[in-house]
């Protein structure tokens, strides 16, 4: 089995071959092709889309690298696209920096690069610059990817958590927690087989649809690490409003529910990679929902709660039983409970 060695990171011919074979040939686009130290983007080509640049970066260190519904390559592309998209930006260009542990099978690396290329092509963005490092065994875990993204925001789009106000409606685009549960199950150390696929997807198309239907959308965020609960807490804090959720309205797949029951986890804190929370004014909520449900990534869209005046800064859930509980930020990771 051919593996990546330290010589692939040495700056010589082996490195050039690796970059050419694994990355450049599959990313294949005119801005990348000159292989200069930077990609050069004409400003005019950006300005046609809007009046503000959106710029974001994210690192991906998922274990395992491949999991049901995705892999680190797809995740690295979709994750950064989503960070641009929820700000109302049209995603255009990505960079890709790879830190590779020596000994990584070459075909696995190639598979991840192809996965990135495919996800980028599907999303209509180009990966235009990058970097490769190979580190000693143990200095990283198999493969770390960092993607940086550039997008452009239309002039009329103004989004921010602080714009949420009482009466606004909280929407999500589908069932929650699939990604977090899929990753935990795929790690195998909990010895649980769960038929759950990651929800990993690029959401910019859905966002565009939503913004057309609900132009006064206040705020959007992709509910990644920390889950929907964390996003809602950030909104409640920034807007100094309360948020009230209905437990019965929170959409969950049966296997995810069962998975959380067995492990004592709360699905509101599970990570998602293709789910967003949107806060929309009440008079646009119905149109926003209908528009989301008309998009392949929003078929399961629903309303989970609303912004309220009372208890500013707090997220409160009306439980299935009729009681209330606070949905707070977690201190650290969720840990499975003993009994």
């Amino acid at each position: 089995m051919k593996t990546v060695t330290l010589s692939h990171g040495g700056g010589g011919k082996a490195m050039k071959d690796l970059i050419d074979v694994v990355f450049v040939s599959v990313f294949d686009n005119p801005l990348l092709a000159p292989l200069d130290d930077q990609a050069r983007v004409p400003l005019a080509s950006l300005a046609q889309y809007g009046d503000r640049l959106a710029f974001t970066t994210d690192s991906f260190v998922v274990d395992p690298l491949e999991f049901p519904g995705g892999d680190i390559g797809k995740l690295a592309v979709c994750g950064t696209i989503n960070d641009l998209a929820v700000g109302g930006a049209i995603p255009l260009y990505l960079s890709c920096a790879a830190i590779i542990e020596e000994g990584l099978p070459f075909d696995l690396l190639e598979r991840m690069a192809r996965s990135m290329a495919l996800a980028a092509r599907d999303a209509g963005v180009d990966i235009v610059t990058g970097d490769t490092k190979v580190v000693q065994r143990g200095a990283c875990d198999k493969l770390f990817l960092t993607t940086t993204g550039i997008g452009v925001i239309r002039g009329d789009v103004v989004l921010g958590a602080q714009y949420a106000r009482p009466g606004d409606v909280v929407l999500v685009n589908g069932v929650l927690g699939d990604h977090g549960a899929a990753i935990l199950a795929a790690r195998g150390d909990l010895a649980l087989d769960a038929p759950i696929d990651s929800d990993c997807a690029a959401l910019h198309g859905l966002v565009e649809t939503l913004l057309v239907a609900a132009p006064n959308t206040r705020f959007m965020r992709d509910a990644t690490r920390g889950g929907v609960a964390t996003v809602l807490n950030e909104i409640a804090h920034a807007a100094q409003c309360g948020i009230e959720l209905s437990e019965t309205a929170v959409p969950l797949r049966e296997p995810v529910k069962a998975f959380c029951e067995i492990l004592g986890l709360d699905p509101l804190y599970l990570a998602n990679e293709g789910r967003l929370v949107a806060v929309v004014p009440p008079d646009e909520a119905a149109r926003a929902l209908a528009a989301m449900r008309g998009h392949p990534l929003g078929l399961g869209a629903c309303r989970i709660g609303q912004i309220v005046e009372r208890r500013p800064g707090l997220v409160v859930m009306h439980t299935v039983l009729g009681g209330d509980r606070i949905v707070d930020m977690l201190v650290g990771d969720q840990l499975p409970r003993i009994c």
């Binding site: 150390d189 909990l190 010895a191 049966e254 529910k257 069962a258 029951e261 492990l263 004592g264 208890r311 707090l314 409160v316 439980t319 299935v320 039983l321 009729g322 009681g323 209330d324 509980r325 606070i326 707070d328 201190v331 650290g332 840990l335 499975p336 409970r337 003993i338 009994c339």
Partner: protein, 369 residues
């Protein structure tokens, strides 16, 4: 989810709450009735479903000492860290023990400093790690009441049968009955009845609680963990109070047999013997409240296999976990609640685990829902 949703039915909950209100009016208590749910799993469910605020004002829930992670004293955490940091050791633990603070930090911090600490969901996973790493010493952090005691015991029996010599257990298993007696004997006690543990009772049955009814004249109802279980159990306790009865009743008959689980009891008897006394965080030393390995299984006892400091670390003076555990104070009445003691920097045991009463109050209720 079948067999789960049925126990979370809103209409049935409303009917039970109505019955609870009716029986409370029938009792007409001069001051609020205090019912202690002993088990941390019950505390968790009570907060998760917002049950406490649904009850009449005249019924208060007191969150008892049944969270094994919460009552683990700092000295034992220090001993565990000392074992984990010895060369060649893999320490294997349940997830929620990772954050419990010792005087020198938690297992989470020890892991960050380089100790090989792994989280599992079952002691048999720890044994598998021992099989796969014959050159390493694998130590399982044995924690919990009679709920988890049999699985640790059976794992030790399996290790013995298969001749696995690099496996041992740092045994912190504890038993709830002596601690209930201590609580009942305490002068500041104001408990009117108990919701008894479900999983523990599945193992030990209902007979060990009889003294609570006979000697102390307090009702106890063994309860399941779903919200309707808890509401029904609260109603059953109140019904006993209204009738002037003090009995041990079993609401959780679908799981708990009155004699418990004989096979699990045999495994416990085979492997463990009572300790003279065991330290509980917040409650101090309680006679016969912990178990250790019998002589025949001494080689699986990490305390005898490794040098541990074994130093008793007293609880911080400001910490009032003991009063909260006994029901003398509500969590938010503790002098350090939410100030010096928070889930980020827990001072007392009850703030550490998600099952700890204070952590639950802080997380779900403290900010006055």
């Amino acid at each position: 989810m079948k067999y789960v949703d049925e126990f979370r039915d809103r209409d049935k909950a409303a009917a039970l709450l109505h019955a609870i209100e009716a029986v409370t009016e029938e009792i007409r208590p001069a001051k609020a009735l205090q019912i202690m749910e002993v088990c941390g799993g019950h505390t968790h469910a009570i907060f998760r479903y917002g049950i406490e605020a649904m009850l009449p004002d005249a019924v208060e829930l007191v969150h008892g000492p049944g969270c094994p992670v919460c009552v683990l004293p700092m000295g034992r955490v220090d001993d565990c860290v000392a074992i984990a940091t010895q060369p060649g050791v893999i320490l294997v633990t349940f997830g929620d023990a990772m954050r419990v603070p010792g005087s020198q930090g938690s297992l989470m911090q020890a892991k960050a400093n380089g100790a090989d600490i792994r989280m599992v969901y079952s002691p048999t996973d720890a044994l598998a790690i021992a099989r796969n790493n014959p050159e390493r010493e694998v130590v399982f952090f044995g924690l919990g009441f009679e709920t988890t005691m049999p699985s640790t015991a059976l794992t030790v029996l399996e290790a013995e049968r298969d001749g696995i010599s690099n496996f041992s257990v740092f045994c912190n298993h504890i038993t709830i009955v002596p601690t209930l007696k201590t609580i009942l004997d305490s002068p500041d006690l104001r408990i009117d009845g108990f919701v008894g543990p479900g999983h523990v009772s599945m193992v030990i049955g209902s007979a060990p609680y009889e003294f609570i009814a006979r000697q102390y004249r307090k009702p106890l109802v063994i309860s399941g963990f779903e919200p309707l279980d808890l509401l029904q159990s609260v109603w059953m306790v109140l019904r006993q109070i209204a009738d002037g009865r003090a009995e041990i009743e079993n609401q959780y008959a679908r799981v708990v047999a009155s004699g418990g689980n004989a096979a699990a009891q045999r495994a416990i008897d085979a492997v463990y013997e009572p300790r003279e006394h065991f330290e509980w965080r917040g409650l101090g030393s309680i006679d016969h409240s912990g178990v250790r390995f019998r002589e025949a299984y001494a080689r699986f006892d990490a305390e005898r296999r490794f040098v541990v400091p074994g130093v008793r670390v007293t609880d911080p003076a400001a910490c009032q976990c003991g009063e909260v555990l006994k029901g003398a104070l509500k969590p938010q009445q503790c002098r350090v609640f939410g100030t010096d003691c928070t889930p980020e920097t827990p001072m007392g045991a009850l703030m550490v685990s998600s099952e700890g009463a204070c952590a639950a109050y802080y997380r779900y209720a403290a900010k006055t829902v």
